[in-house]
Symmetry: C2
């Protein structure tokens, strides 16, 4: 009988934030890929395009004209999935045909006036402005709504329909599925183990170093032990922090710096503007602002789809949709690859 | 205050098979799409390609030569995510770093000797042979393994790396996440309501007709009330059936017929070979074969990604990955579109 080697022997790993398992089959990387090849992202995006509704001075779908903004810029999503005033579907439902009201708002936030820039190429002080706006949004929308989801879809491969650097914010009067899972798992963990899940986790990862990608005084980025996407990462503060507005000025500067370093490594991995969906999970807001939410720890997830190169992605299909998520390299291998990469952006070297 | 209209007013719907919610925001279909456009699938696939390892007579990666098969053909996956003999990672784990053994087998099954044919274009007697093989597989692999996942990834968009019509079978010594969810939900429902979830559901849908796509004496296909993917469907027997091998010869013929009708409608929707992932969920096997699994009802899920046309898909990204799945048309609208389509395949009309 062989010794167990995670790089050679498939096994399941437990995700304590989602109470589910991921199948790790690292030997699958040996298989040749003959399937779909992705278009690499466009590389000659004009800095300013008057027809792009996200640019300064452009006219949007609703006829409004954007200001000549020179930093971040926020506006209401012109095609919102959540609106503040939808009528209630009622409550007298059969158990197999249950519906409930969903109310909320959807906003878009541009990171920068230029269309041809991305977060890793922005200055730390510019990224800091994005972070401050995120924190303001949680205060503003969190006063009314239970959950304020800040997320960025980057790259056409991730369904992003506009190359201008931006994120979205969808606030809702309900806890979305993923938030409800994170809420339950963190609450149960604190009760059972006496320490917030992600505080204990960050401490242990910082000590082990095996899955750490970048770190600084205030923050830690790891490929989590239970990562599903090939180069998925988890961004964690070292201090116990419930929500973005609770971050100190120093922690915000530290966050700007570590985001730039992480995203530069991502871009350097395959020398391409790395596609991903990312988002923040902080303690629920609205009526929860008055409750003890000490089981929560603020964190951000990065879910990037690329697997082997700028044009070969991981597909979460078939077995993954119907049975179980599965990954083709170990989280430790992914962390090592990212860790070894330089922190100077490949585009800066080439010019 | 307006009256609630599901086509105009976003709301949440409950999925009783997964104990989670989906956000239905049908008014989002009005938004213009400027994002990624998919390559339509290749339309001139050679009937026989000696270099395609799935064709009759071809040499596969491990050096084996395929027989000159004239119906279905099964072989072991040359790059299996599950192998029968992986060593155990041990059991003395910290709660945040838990792993467990995963053992299993992965097989590939070709549906037909031709590469340029798909299920909807096959004869019912040919589809019947596929169904019989599926049932045999559940018997054969189910004797040893807890879960036998039969699934088909169709189309390059769904990560399918070979155009030859085929499905996969991954059998495992563990209940995958999705199987464990379906197990728990169906078990709880029977206990609470005294009738298997999907039997009650099929009866109610057959009566309402609102979400029915196709039906015959033995089978029913609906866009489920809680569908997540735009044109997702659920295929259900009318009789209480635990697993594929339990189907009578008549039910198998009825299944071949209804699969052909459903998949023809799918292809006719955007006049393209419709991509999807599909798979069978029957009662768990292995040691469960001896248990009372009466809460289970056999069913198949079809998860197709296309939304607006042959080249515009739904992206499950950002908000969907980090917060909550969201759909852009109501299940009732999707069912009506599919129902209205003809049952003669568009490729047959054109020639
Ligand atoms: O085994 P294949 O067809 O090469 O691979 C495809 O199906 C698998 C099972 O759904 C997935 O894990 C892969 O990501 C996908 O590309
Ligand atoms: O709002 P966008 O950027 O047009 O749309 C994108 O993000 C949304 C939120 O993740 C998804 O629902 C859409 O499928 C995706 O294309």
């Amino acid at each position: 009988k062989h010794m167990f080697d995670p790089k050679e022997h498939q096994h399941l790993r437990y995700n304590p934030l989602r109470d589910s398992w991921v199948l790790v089959s690292a030997h699958r990387m040996k298989r040749p890929w003959k399937g779909q090849v992705e278009k690499p992202p466009e590389d000659n995006i004009p800095r300013h395009d008057p027809n792009n509704p996200l640019c300064p001075g452009s006219v949007r779908a609703n006829g409004e004209v954007n200001p000549e903004y020179d930093s971040t810029f926020m506006f209401d999503n012109d095609f919102p999935a959540l609106q503040p005033d939808a009528p209630d579907p009622g409550s007298d439902h059969h158990p197999l045909f249950q519906s409930k009201a969903a109310r909320g708002v959807c906003k878009v936030m541009c990171f920068h006036p230029w269309s041809d820039i991305t977060l890793p190429l922005m200055q730390p002080v510019e990224i800091r402005k994005v972070i401050d706006k995120w924190a303001d949004l949680i205060v503003e929308l969190g006063a009314e709504y239970t959950w304020v989801q800040i997320f960025e879809n980057k790259g056409a491969m991730m369904g992003c329909s506009n190359p201008h650097p931006h994120c979205q914010v969808w606030a809702s009067n309900f806890l979305p599925n993923e938030a409800a899972l994170a809420e339950r798992c963190q609450r149960d963990f604190l009760q059972k183990h006496g320490e917030p899940l992600l505080l204990q986790y960050a401490r242990m990862e910082a000590q082990a170093q095996e899955r750490v990608v970048v770190e600084n005084e205030h923050w830690l980025v790891v490929v989590p032990y239970w990562a599903t996407w090939p180069f998925q990462t988890l961004l964690l503060p070292r201090r116990h922090v419930l929500r973005l507005p609770d971050l100190t000025p120093q922690e915000r500067d530290g966050l700007a710096s570590i985001m730039k370093r992480l995203l530069t490594k991502y871009d350097n991995l395959f020398e391409v503007s790395f596609p991903y969906s990312m988002g923040w999970h902080g303690a629920p807001t609205g009526s929860h602002l008055k409750e003890d939410m000490g089981h929560w720890q603020l964190h951000a997830h990065y879910y990037p789809p690329l697997l082997r190169s700028a044009t070969i992605r991981k597909f979460m299909v078939g077995y993954e949709m119907l049975a179980n998520e599965q990954r083709d390299l170990t989280p430790e291998q992914a962390a090592e690859q990212l860790r070894k990469l330089g922190e100077e952006h490949y585009k800066m070297k080439k010019t």
